[in-house]
Structures are given as C-alpha cells and as structure tokens.
C-alpha cells in the first residue's frame, strides 16, 4: 500500500492552484463553495431571464416549449441544489469552526470531498445541455411523465444521477458539521451558548442526513424504471406515480427548511450586532428552530392536496401545516424584539436582514393560505405558488445569504464591501424582487397555471407578466451592481480590521483574514455573545481589545493538504456517469474511488513532514 500512495508525493504547498485543489482548510473550501455557487446563481438567473423574456408578451414564440421546459426545470433544480444549498454550505464552512472556537472541522478531508462531489455533481447535472437533452420535467419531476416513453431522451437520467452525486456531497458535509458542532466546541460553550447560526446549521445538518436517503431511494427507483426494466412508478407495470410524490416530498419538505434555516441563522447573528443589543428570546428562537425541524416531517402532503389523498389525510396535513406557522412567527416576533429599543445602524448587512424579514413575512403569510386545503385547490400549480416560493426563497434565503456575504465577507477578505454600492444593490434587489414576484400572486389567482410556456392574448395575463419581466431587468442590474462592488472592494487596501462591526461572536476576535489555524489560543467561553463579554471587561479595565497575536504555525499542527478527496469525487461521479455512457466506466469510476479510499485510509491527517 505504501507504494500506491507513494506514487505521487503528498502535496505540501499552501500557495498556487494545486494548493486549492488539495486544500483541506475549511476557509478555502468555503471560498470554493462560495464562488462556484455564485456562478451557478448567475447561470440559473440567466435561465430565469429566458423565461421572463418569453413570458413578457402573450403568444410569444421567442423560445420553443422544448427549451422553455428545460429552463424552468433547470432554473429551479439549480437554484435549490447548486445555489442556495451550497451557498449555505459555504457559510457553514467559513463560519462554523470560527464561531465555535475550533481550528477546523472534524474531518477536513471529508469536507474537501464534499466540495468536489458538489462541483462534479453540478457538472453532471448540467451535462445534458451539451447534448440538448437537459432535464425538462420540472424540478420535482413527477412520474409518470419522467418515465419512458414520455421522457424518452436522457434528460431525466442526467437529473437523477446528478442529484444522486450531489446528495452524497450534502450528506457527507452534514455528517461533518454535526460532529464538528457537537464535539469541537470551545470549553465553556454549552449548547445554549452557541450562536444561533450554529444551532441552525446543526438542525439543518440533521435534516439533511435524514431526508436525503429518502430521495436517494426515489432517484434510484426512477433510474431503475428508466434503465433496468422495473415499474416502481409506471402504471403499465402496476406501479403508482403517487409513490414518487410521497418519496419526493418526504424529502422535499424538510428540504425547504434546509434552505431557509441557515439564512434565518445568519439574520439572527446580524440583527443583534447592528441593534447593539442581544438577540431577543434566544431560547425561543432555538426551540422554534428545533420545532420547525421536527414538524417539517409532518407536513409533506400539503404539496399533494390535489392528488386525491382523501379528506382525512388532507385534514390532517392542513392542521399540521398551519401549526408549523407558529414557530416561524415566533422567530419573526423575536427578531423584531431584537431591534426594538436598540440603536440600529443601517449598514448593508442590516438592510438585507430587515429586507429578509419584510419579504419573508409576505412569503410566510401566502404559505398559510396554501395550508388551507380547499383554498389550495385553486392555488396549486398556479403562479400564486410561484410567488410564494420566490418570496420565501429569494426574499428569504437569498436576502439572508447576501446579508451574510456583506457581514462576514470582511472577515475573510479583510475588506469591507462598499456601503454606497451595497445600499444600491439592496434597494434594487428589493424593488426588483417585489416588482417581479408580487404580480404573480394575482396572475395566478386569475387563472395562469405554472410551467406554461405561453398564454393567450384574451387571457388578460399580459399586463402582470410584463411587470414581472420588467422586474427581472431591475434584478439583473442589482446583480451587476453587486459584482462591481465585489470586484472593486477586492482591490482596495484592507480596511476591515478584526472587528469592523463591534460584533458579539468570537470569530471577530481574530484577524481578518484569519490565520490558517484560526485561534492562537482557544477561548474559554463565558456566555452567549462571548466576545461582547470580553470587550466589556476590557473596557471596564480601561484596555483595548486588539485581535489575537499571531504565532508560529509550526507550533500548531493543522491537517495537511491531500489529493485523495478530488480523486474519490472524480471516481464517484464516474460511477454515476457510466450509467449514461458505458457501464464499463462505472466500474472504472468505482475502482478509482476504491483506490482513493485506500489511499486516504493510509494517509495520516497531518503529513509527517509537517509534524
């Protein structure tokens, strides 16, 4: 075995492209996730642009339904799996170890593996575009449309196999973060002293671990139906298309909480900082998060109110879905309570956080109207639902994520993003978002179904659709502004210092950007908002609170870079890819992954040369 792993010497460099490919440093991995998913945000946004261009006018023939159907499928699939989830993962990577006082995550190489699986899975998911066979059955891909002969080309296989690879990435990352959060907290940081963002990461990770296997089975069964002759969802063989829906939504509903809880955590960190007072009702926010996580398993069939489950099932899910609104409301009230009586500074992170709450209130309220099954019979599958989705995922998750980028960006770049452009970005995004999605509430209830590539002149849908398409242009400009801001701010002199916002989290006690080992000395945590406590004590003692001093890295043993994660990710992706090309390639991929696992097993976490 030593000769196998001795073929290529273990990487040691900490600079250059190769160092990024072999990195196991959570901060670098977070940056990799961040850039990749932001790029995917632009891709999925372009797909939305095609749709809005097509729908701007009645009976438009700008794009064919064949293209349009691929657009809405890939827009949603990418936004969920390639944008919001990995942007959250980016934050998990960057922030979790710093916020709990750890030097890295529990399994640094597994962390790197998660990123490479994400990248390759994303490429696999999108590879269909190269053959003009991108998935086109909607992001929840209901059977039996996804079966052959109704989806005869390989699009659905790209979808299933891409998501299977992405699933392994998410589960691996979730396992890592559960162990990290439970097991690597600084001394004195009990569970009820953890920052809210860490709690939300923990709950999200547990949801991921339990929910992904369900859709994994669904995807496997769909792939087997399409390629190995089974009839799990095929009526011709006795299969029930509804089984797919149950499997998908048992995963799918926890999934939407996976999408919203981390941004809620981000906002919970930002509000106290810029209100200059602690989070109001911390235990209640935590318990609300836990309750939402638990209850998310009990509401899935509200996505299926129109499939004929019967009045008993529909009644039960109406009640459970309405009840899950309560903990969400409690969070919102506590956030407002945090601002109440504060001394609010309207820096860009704060604007985005307040925007998050404002828009999420609208999305949450429309959600309550869906919960009511009889009313949902009119709303289901119309643009009213599309409006709800975007208020909670764009107005909610994306705004929360931008808040986090402006807030924590300086910690990793050493530079504060421009305030002027930041505010412009916020207002354009806020206005654009409302302009694009608010009219959709109306056009949906006026009778426009979703996933339709066109509508007639007589329908009367033109005006509201044009407004939405106009809104898209505003959103586009907003994103351009953000990119300009980001590029310009990257070039200026470092100006953030270690604690630009006078914030309570311990991540602000170290330099910006942090050294590779994060903390020279792991803090002894004395309470929630520990760094505020430290600064308060220092103020009372008449001292300043500079950042920690740097120490010689050779005295702290950090895990060493490794090339096994990318090799294994490559192999795993080919196990899936082989099913689309030649089965022999699956075995080759398996062999590569296997060799990778052996190599990894034989490699110590920290290289001999770095001891």
């Amino acid at each position: 075995m030593a000769t196998l792993t001795g073929v290529l010497a273990r990487p040691t460099s900490h600079t250059g492209v190769w160092s990024w490919i072999t990195t196991v440093d959570h901060k670098r991995i977070g940056i990799l996730y961040g850039f990749t998913s932001f790029f995917m945000l632009l891709v999925a946004g372009a797909e939305a642009g095609v749709m809005r261009a097509q729908l701007a006018t009645a009976e438009s023939d700008l794009v064919s339904p064949y293209v349009f159907n691929q657009m809405f499928t890939m827009h949603a699939t990418a936004m969920v799996f390639n944008v919001i989830m990995p942007l959250s993962a980016s934050f998990f990577n960057l922030i979790v170890p710093l916020a709990i006082g750890a030097r890295d995550v529990a399994f640094p190489r597994l962390n790197a593996l998660s990123y490479w699986l994400f990248l390759f899975g994303t490429l696999l998911l999108h590879a269909g575009f190269l053959q003009n066979q991108a998935p086109d059955a909607g992001w929840f891909s209901y059977a039996s449309l996804t079966e052959k002969p109704y989806s005869a080309n390989a699009g659905m296989d790209f979808w299933s196999l891409g998501l299977l690879v992405l699933g392994t990435s998410s589960v691996a990352a979730a396992l890592n973060f559960v162990v990290t959060i439970i097991n690597m907290r600084a001394p004195g940081m009990s569970l009820m002293r953890m920052p809210v963002f860490i709690w939300m990461t923990l709950i999200t990770s547990i949801l991921l671990i339990l929910a992904f296997p369900v859709i994994t089975v669904g995807l496997i069964e769909l792939t087997m139906d399409r390629n190995f002759g089974t009839h799990f969802f095929m009526p011709q063989g006795g299969g029930d298309p509804l089984l797919w829906q149950h499997l998908f939504w048992v995963f799918g509903h926890p999934e939407v909480y996976i999408l919203i809880l981390p941004p809620m955590g981000v906002v919970s960190e930002i509000l106290p900082t810029f209100s200059k007072k602690p989070l109001f009702g911390y235990p209640f926010i935590i318990w609300s998060g836990i309750t939402i996580g638990v209850m998310s398993w009990a509401v899935w069939s509200h996505h299926m109110f129109t499939v004929g489950l019967g009045p008993v099932a529909n009644s039960v899910f109406t009640i459970t879905t309405m009840l899950i609104a309560v903990p969400t409301g409690v969070k919102i009230f506590n956030w407002i309570g945090t601002m109440w009586g504060g001394a609010i500074e309207f820096k860009t992170p704060m604007l985005f956080s307040i925007g998050f709450i404002a828009l999420f209130i609208i999305g949450g309220l429309s959600g309550i109207s869906h919960a009511v099954a009889p009313a949902d019979n009119q709303q289901q599958d119309t643009y009213y639902i599309v409006a709800h989705i975007h208020y909670v995922l764009f107005g909610g998750s994306i705004f929360g994520i931008f808040a986090g980028i402006y807030y924590w960006g300086p910690k990793f770049t050493g530079r504060i993003l421009g305030e002027g452009l930041g505010k412009l970005h916020f207002w354009l995004l806020f206005i654009g978002m409302n302009l694009t999605f608010f009219p959709m509430h109306y056009v949906g209830l006026n009778g426009m179904p979703r996933r339709t590539f066109t509508y007639t002149d007589e329908s009367g849908f033109q005006l509201l659709n044009s407004l939405s398409s106009l809104g898209y242009i505003v959103l586009f400009i907003a994103f351009v502004i953000f990119i300009i801001n980001f590029l310009r701010s990257s070039k200026k002199e470092p100006d953030a210092g270690h604690d630009p916002w006078d914030a309570p989290g311990i991540e602000w006690s170290i330099s910006s950007p942090p050294p590779e080992y994060n903390f020279a000395e792991i803090p002894q945590v004395e309470g929630r908002d520990h760094y505020w406590i430290v600064k308060e004590k220092a103020r009372e003692a008449g001292q300043e609170s500079p950042a920690e001093a740097h120490v010689d890295i050779r005295t702290i043993h950090m895990p060493s870079p490794s090339y096994w994660p990318i090799i294994i990710a490559f192999g795993v992706t080919w196990i899936a890819g082989g099913l689309l090309t030649h089965y022999a390639l699956s075995f080759v991929g398996g062999a590569i992954a296997f060799i990778g696992v052996i190599g990894w097993g034989n490699e110590p976490a920290t290289a001999e040369s770095e001891h």
Partner: protein, 392 residues
Amino acid sequence: MGLNPRGASRRLTANASVDNTEAATPAKSRFTKFLAISAVLLILTAACSQGDQSTWNPAGPVAEKQLLLFNVLLWVMVVVFILVEGALVYAALRYRARPGQPRPAQVHGNLPLEITWTIIPTVLIMALGIWSVVTLWQLEEPPESLGEVLEVTATGHQWWFEFEYADAGGGKTITTANDLRVPVDTSVRVILESDDVIHSLWIPRLAGKVDMIPTHQNHLWFYADSSKIETLPATFLGQCAEFCGLSHALMKFEVTVLEQDDYDAWVEGYGKPPVLSPLAQQGQQVFNANCVSCHTDKGPDAAALVDGRVAGFLAGGKIAPGPNLTDLATRARFAAGILDLNEENLQRWLENPDEIKPGNYMSERASFYQDGVNTLSDDDISAVIQYLISLK
C-alpha cells in the same frame, strides 16, 4: 463640516433635547406614509383580478366556498401583515441610532410576551384550520340538497381532455373531447382518470382543481349556479394544471353551461348522422381511410377501443388515443381549446400540427405524416375539412 467636535456635539445634543418628539415625528410620519401606500397598493392590485379564468369570479358554490375561505384568510393576512410589517418598519425607523447614543438596554427577552405571541397565533391558526377542515369535508361530495347528480368521467391524455357521459340523459352514452356541456343548476360529479401521465382538471370559475393520475380514480364536483351567471349559454375556460409534457400550456377545454332544454336537445342530437355535401362525402372516405384508427366520429368511444389505442401507442405503433370528433362542428374550438374552429385553422392544423402543438402524436405517429408534414393530397385535405365542418 466644522472641525470642532465639541461644538458639533453640543448642537446635536441641543437638538435632541429640544425635541424628542421631533426625532420621533419624522419616523412616525414616514411610518404613516408607509401604511397609506401599502393600503392603496393592496386595493389597486386587488382591482386587477378579473377574467374568464379567474378564481375571483365564482359561478358556483364550490368555487365560491373556496374563495370565501381564501378571502377571509386574505383579510387576516392583510391585518397580520400590517401589524407585523408595521412593527418591523416602526422599529427600524424609531430605533435608528442617533449619534453619541449610549449602548441601549441589553434586554434578553420577555417571558410573558413570548407566551402571548405564541398562544394567540396558535389559537387564531387553529380556528382557521378547523374552519378549513369543516369546509373541506363539506366540499367533498355534492350535497343532496342540490338534487340529482350528473356523472361525467374525464380522462386526461397528452394533450387533450376526454369527457365521457355514461348516462347523459335517458341512458344515452356520449363521448366528447375538450368540450364539457352541462345543464345549469345541476351538480356535476367528474370522475378523473388518466391514460398516460398526471394531468389536472381545472375550471377556476367553477371549482378548484383535482389531479388526474394514472391508476387512480379521483373526483371533483361543481354546480353552475344560474344566479351567478348572467346569460346562458355561458362558457367557462378550463386548463390542465399539472405539468404534463411539451404542450402542457396548450391543453385547455371549455365548459358550456346550458339551459336544461338546450342540454336535453344536445344530448338528443348527439351522434346523429350528419348531412354531407358530395365533397364532404369524399372527405368522409378520406377520414375512414386515414383517421378512424385514432378518432371516432360516429358516436361515443367504447372503453376497450380507447384502451386498445393506448396500448398500441405504448407499443410504438402508428396509433394514439385521439379526440372524439363526433359533432365536431358544434364546438367553438378544437385542438384542446387553442384554435377557433374554422376552415383556415383546420387547414393549418392538418398541414403541420407540430407547428401549432409541438410534440403532438398525430404528426408523430399517423402514417400519412412524413417528418411532421401531411402527405395527403391538397384535394383530400380540403375534402376532409369539408367533412369535419359538416359534423353536426
């Protein structure tokens, strides 16, 4: 602009002390403005809700009850929105940091407040939830008080709706396509099935949708209420509301509500042999030679016949379940509600159906189409069109 910090702060302090209310007033006036704008916007946009397919324009008790539930919820949402969003905006404006302001009181929470704002929403939500459940059960089946129920079976196909009346009246069986005719003031119970993928039957002005799922039998019901309909006959639009493939957006149908007498007359006249001109007779021969394997033109479709067409389609044969064309000329539209029925449109459709309805199975499977283009002679096509417009 002065470089005198103490001077500046003195000025600021002076302002602040003179007028706590002055600092509050801009916030308050901004807040009131915000409320006013929201109210106006909400009302304005509500005015946008109109239309033939609108859920805001119910023509029967099912749609009406569903709308009532939604409207009540809407007003609750509006009130909650004003309260909560208002509190948010108020807090943002009122508690803006003023220069030199000391650190605010470090409040950690308030237990009575937490309990209150947990219990009140729970109670409110449970009340709405229970009312919703009651409505749900009420809407499950047509009530006896509304009288006899007309049963129709709707089968979804890619991309058209098949309607079968086992007993339209006097024991007569009727099959139509994309054309649901019902008498006014009569409960209509629609059994929902599908022969291929999941579709959904939606007539917004009459009832919320229910999905049509292969291997399942669902149902919905509606009742066209004469007191809510201005003139008869009235036409309501329906559309497929579950993504079902390439031409999902082009899968529509019409519900025609008739006076009882007109309905009976329609049932009576259904399937009667048409009067044919010589050209139409020639067209009938073209039809018999090329179209009957998929389209029935002489009356209702037997279930076994449709099953056979579906099986043939799945086996890759030159066949597919096609819309029933009996009495086609009595319909206002064809091709699943997307084209007005006239000679010109029929010509366009027959020549190149794929251009109008991408993915349609006629041009894909019928033997007289090559690469989507009709290979019948122009004469034959004209004749068949004459035949089709004679079907009444």
